[in-house]
């Protein structure tokens, strides 16, 4: 497992890095210069990104979440805070798990495993939700276009669907693309 350790609070990282190495992880350390972090993450392709809650700014994490949006990674935070609210907040904003400072090396593996498993489940759920939202949005647009076409062509629902599908298929397009064209045309002509 390859871990990217974002190191801008040296007092803790020294111990954590040693513990990670001892546990047999492949650790790549990044010092505080986060300016090229997106490119580094792309190049290193870590399995897990590890950083500190006390990192100079929480922007680091926000940036990481944002830039890895298309190819997200599990993010694990290490901390010496015991405030459950802070942790809850962190987890809501995309952190998969956290490590309390001073933890023994042999306990890192299960924590990281949980982080990765949770991350994968989250990803799958998010993709399913996105798909469902998109389906509903597309259905609404197709329904709208169908209604417009029924008026324009004075035809019934099924005929309108068939007209749009035939047009889409003849042009090797999806139904939604033709629906958008119908809507644009309708707006253009002010019908």
């Amino acid at each position: 497992m390859r871990i990217l350790l974002i190191d801008d609070t040296p007092k803790k990282v020294g111990r954590l890095k040693a513990a990670l190495l001892e546990a047999g992880f492949d650790v790549i350390e990044e010092s505080g210069l986060t300016i090229d972090l997106p490119a580094r993450i792309e190049a290193i392709r870590p399995d897990v990104i590890l950083f500190d809650t006390q990192s100079p700014s929480r922007d680091v994490m926000d940036q990481v979440c944002l830039v890895t949006r298309d190819r997200p990674r599990p993010i694990v935070m290490f901390t010496d805070e015991h405030d459950p609210d802070v942790m809850r907040q962190a987890i809501q904003s995309g952190v998969s798990a956290y490590i309390v400072e001073g933890i023994h090396a042999q306990r890192l593996q299960p924590i990281l495993d949980v982080a990765m498993a949770r991350f994968e489940t989250d990803q799958a759920l998010r993709a399913q939700l996105q798909a469902r939202e998109q389906q509903l949005a597309e259905r609404k647009r197709i329904e709208l276009a169908k209604g417009m076409l029924m008026k324009m062509r004075d035809c019934n629902e099924e005929q309108a669907y068939t007209l749009m599908r035939r047009q889409a298929m003849s042009k090797q397009q999806k139904l939604i693309q033709v629906a958008e064209q119908v809507i644009s045309m309708n707006e253009l002509l002010g019908l």
Binding site: Q135, R139, Y161, T162, M169, L175
Partner: protein, 401 residues
């Protein structure tokens, strides 16, 4: 339209467990209903987004289906039974046939060079093969447990040619058939369209037989998944069947719909072949490259009022009789018991009812094949042993290549 009912269904307790389904397909004309369903909005009303994944070969498709990369796939009927029985692949895996996707529409083709030497009928082919000076012909199919191997074997045997002794066979992925023929690496092949018609269009091949001439309205492609997927996602499976039934019905609703389907699937993301090689045979217009033309009475079918889509038990059983006949199975399996497990009759019936598709009362059907034998599912073990040409395990073991 059923859209309003379907919306209510999505939000109810029958809502599909998945909203994304990864569907595998091979670039073949008979994959059209998947492509139409995925791109033309047939699945959204059921709460599904279909992601299409074109596969490079049948064995790749099979492996991706087993590892879960694909949730369901356009599959060779007999390949699914091969997987169930553990033939020519990984260990036996419980499989599920959700519905039939296509009947007919495959063909047995020979190189134009052989045809020019006068080998342009089955009889001439048999004569040529029996000449002692003739090196064995190399004939390709698409998978050892695939339908094309079985159609090729059945046809050759019916013409007195032993497919495992008198010719050499090879496996070639469908889209590569024409290139292998051009390069002279194979003398002929059995494959799904458009890869027969394309060889004729290029002047490289001729069609000696259509598979519907072997068995009119024969079972060919199915929508299949692992039994585990069907059991864990029954609502998704049902929704998928509904979407595909409705896409299949749409394709056959009019000649215009068939033509625009041909246009769509010819695209580079799908079958990736000229529409001129796809459309004529899809409409039943056949030319064989030997100067004959005809309107086929049993062309490629996707729906035919639901007759294509019913997962008949006897259809599944027939493929097992041919595995037995050609020695891939060394013993008689529990033909009926296995077919009952694999064919998802109740899921299909529920989906067909929802989509307003007629459900046949019988789970067996009867057909007369080109050698005059009748298959009705009644005595599979006897049927498997009834052929003069065979490779029954006690006679000869057929290596799985």
């Amino acid at each position: 339209m059923i859209t309003n009912n379907a919306l209510a269904w999505v939000s109810g307790s029958d809502a599909p467990e998945r909203s994304i389904v990864n569907l595998g397909f091979m670039p073949l004309t008979d994959s059209a209903s998947l492509i139409v369903a995925a791109t033309q909005g047939f699945a959204q009303p059921y709460g599904l987004t279909l992601h299409l994944h074109r596969q490079p070969s049948w064995s790749a498709l099979r492996d991706n289906l087993l590892t879960g990369e694909l949730d369901a796939a356009h599959s060779l009927y007999s390949m699914i039974y091969g997987l169930q029985l553990g033939l020519g692949g990984p260990s036996p895996t419980d499989m599920a046939v959700l519905m039939g996707l296509a009947q007919n529409g495959q063909s047995i083709n020979l190189s134009a060079a052989l045809a020019a030497e006068g080998i342009n009928t089955a009889e001439a082919l048999a004569q040529c093969i029996q000449q002692p000076t003739q090196p064995p012909l190399m004939l390709a199919h698409t998978l050892p447990t695939g339908t094309h191997a079985l159609w090729l074997y059945y046809w050759l045997a019916a013409k007195g040619i032993h497919p495992l002794e008198d010719v050499t066979t090879a496996v070639v992925p469908p889209p590569l058939m024409v290139e292998h023929l051009r390069a002279g690496r194979i003398d002929g092949y059995c494959v799904g369209e458009p890869w027969g018609a394309l060889a004729i269009e290029h002047g490289l091949g001729v069609t000696l037989a259509t598979t519907q001439a072997i068995w009119p309205d024969h079972p060919e492609k199915v929508l299949a998944c692992t039994r585990e997927f069907a059991e864990q996602n029954p609502n998704t499976a049902r929704a998928l069947i509904c979407a595909l039934l409705e896409a299949s019905r749409f394709i056959e609703e009019s000649v215009e719909n068939r033509r625009s389907t041909a246009q769509l699937i010819s695209g580079s993301a799908y079958v990736n072949a000229p529409v001129t090689a796809i459309e004529p045979r899809m409409l039943g217009h056949y030319t064989n490259g030997l100067g004959e033309q005809w309107q086929d009475e049993h062309p490629l079918r996707f729906f035919h009022n639901g007759a294509v889509n019913m997962p008949y038990l006897s259809d599944g059983m027939w493929f097992m009789t041919q595995f037995r006949r050609w020695g891939l199975l060394r013993n008689d399996p529990d033909y009926l018991g296995i077919a009952r497990q694999v064919q998802q009759l109740s899921l299909y019936a529920e989906a067909a009812e929802r989509s307003g598709v007629q459900i046949p009362e019988q789970t067996m059907r009867s057909a007369t094949l080109l050698d005059g034998r009748v298959w009705d599912g009644q005595d599979p073990a006897g049927y498997a042993r009834s052929f003069p040409l065979h490779a029954l395990a006690d006679a000869m073991l057929h290596p799985l290549t």
